[in-house]
Amino acid sequence: MRSFAYDAPATPQEALQLVNGRADARYLGGGTNLVDLMRLGVERPARLVDVSGVLADSVESTPEGGVRIGAAVRNSELAADSRVRRHYPVLSQGLLAGASGQLRNMATVGGNLLQRTRCLYFQDISKPCNKREPGSGCPARDGINRDLAILGVSEHCIATHPSDMAVALAALNAVVCVMDHDGERRVPLDDFYRLPGDDPSRDTTLASGDLITAVELPAPSALTEHSAYRKARDRASYAFAVGAVAAAVDVQDGQVRDVRIALGAVAHKPWRARVAEEALRGRPATAAEFESAITRELEAAEPTRDNAFKIPLAARLTVAVLSGLAGVEREDER
């Protein structure tokens, strides 16, 4: 590991100042991903600026009726928050589906958003990776790619984003609050993440030195209160997803009034299934409609040799979650 200077600033402004213009400086939250990547040699910062003590670590109600989640709130505390459990169950469930009890106690909300892909090639500095070393190539495309992306891929990168929390936040239309020297700006979660395109080195649209201060959720609604997260993984617990879905649906008189679907473990970012959502609005809430809509969404999939199974997996997870939320029977349960 490269040696580094450590600073624990007293204010967010001081933190911005310490990182200002230094490409080799990193903010430190819980460290669960960053410290590991430093040990692997993937990250080699010369300076760590510990922001866990200067960012808000509480969940506050907003004047609009939603909540503002401080970036230093630990994942475990957010999952247990009574407002989150009641009004945004998909978020509590998504958080609890991720990592272990110990890691959730360490991991911050800001850090969770910024965790890096678990693509094996990204994490192995003895191999090329366009995300880690731009222009070096992507051995995953023809290599070990069972766990990698099927949607929004590019010829340069097929990495997936590993966060469960971020998938839930995508379904909740969360807004990321970001601070720079000019003040705070608000970035919708869907615009916060980016697809790899020809620059996989960047996971997000953040500029160098930007500091995440909070995540805001809009006021709860019939939609957010009927939301759920479901994750498929290779073990019963404590494993990254091979497929996941965060969904919310508002059904009235048997019709889908509104719906949100975000897929995890299928793309470089939490994948909002907008094609499926559009197809479902105003339609009867039935398993067949859910299946037809998500199938349309997944027509865009570009699987590799080993991950085509993710297409039916994502479809079945989506149909199961929507059917459960809408209280309708699934075809395969009849």
Partner: protein, 188 residues
């Protein structure tokens, strides 16, 4: 931060002088900033109860209690826990010399084979029971209010899920889970 008896340099120091509070005792140490809390405990303070398994936060053998919460000490930088309270397996025995109720339950239920994961299992179990007593849910807790409200309402399924961050290579789970269930409620 820069000690005055050292020559000042243009680049900031990559080591820190700090006080670590371990099991209630303050320890003044000078550490390379790269030092994990686990290495500080084992290599600098002679507290070898916390174990290094994977050193990547995957096995849980290094679990300690930080301000009462269980964390992986291998992914925690020692310099980042300045001013906070760390409890390791060495700090669990009471002033009267009695084992902690979770330790006693592990002995009574033979909740180990080789013992390497045991300090982490025990610290994790203590933290986990506290989380359950605070009403924290897990991934297997029903979304309605029917789940456990305290640690003595946990069942084996809940314990397995909540302890999934602690691996036992010997596979002693069959006795670890009953040990934890037995100790549940005793730590409040």
């Amino acid at each position: 931060m820069t000690p005055s008896r050292f020559p000042t340099t243009t680049s900031p120091p990559t080591y820190s002088d700090l006080t670590l509070t371990i099991n209630g005792e303050p320890h003044d140490v000078r550490l390379d900033n790269r030092t994990s809390l686990l290495d500080a405990l084992r290599e600098h303070l002679g507290l070898t109860g916390s174990k290094k398994g994977c050193d990547h936060g995957q096995c849980g053998a290094c679990t300690v209690l930080l301000d009462g919460r269980r964390v992986n000490s291998c992914l925690t930088l020692a310099v980042a826990v300045r001013g906070r309270s760390v409890v390791t397996v060495e700090g669990l025995v009471g002033d009267d010399g009695d084992l902690h109720p979770v330790q006693r339950a592990f002995v009574e239920h033979d909740g180990f084979q080789c013992g390497y994961c045991t300090p982490g299992q025990i610290c994790s179990a203590i933290g986990m029971l506290g989380e359950a007593d605070a009403g924290w849910p897990s991934a297997v807790t029903p979304p309605d209010d029917s789940g456990p409200q305290s640690s003595d309402e946990l069942d084996a399924n809940e314990v397995r899920e909540r302890m999934s961050g602690n691996l036992c290579r010997c596979g002693a789970y069959a006795n670890i889970v009953p040990a934890i269930l037995d100790a549940a409620g005793s730590t409040r």
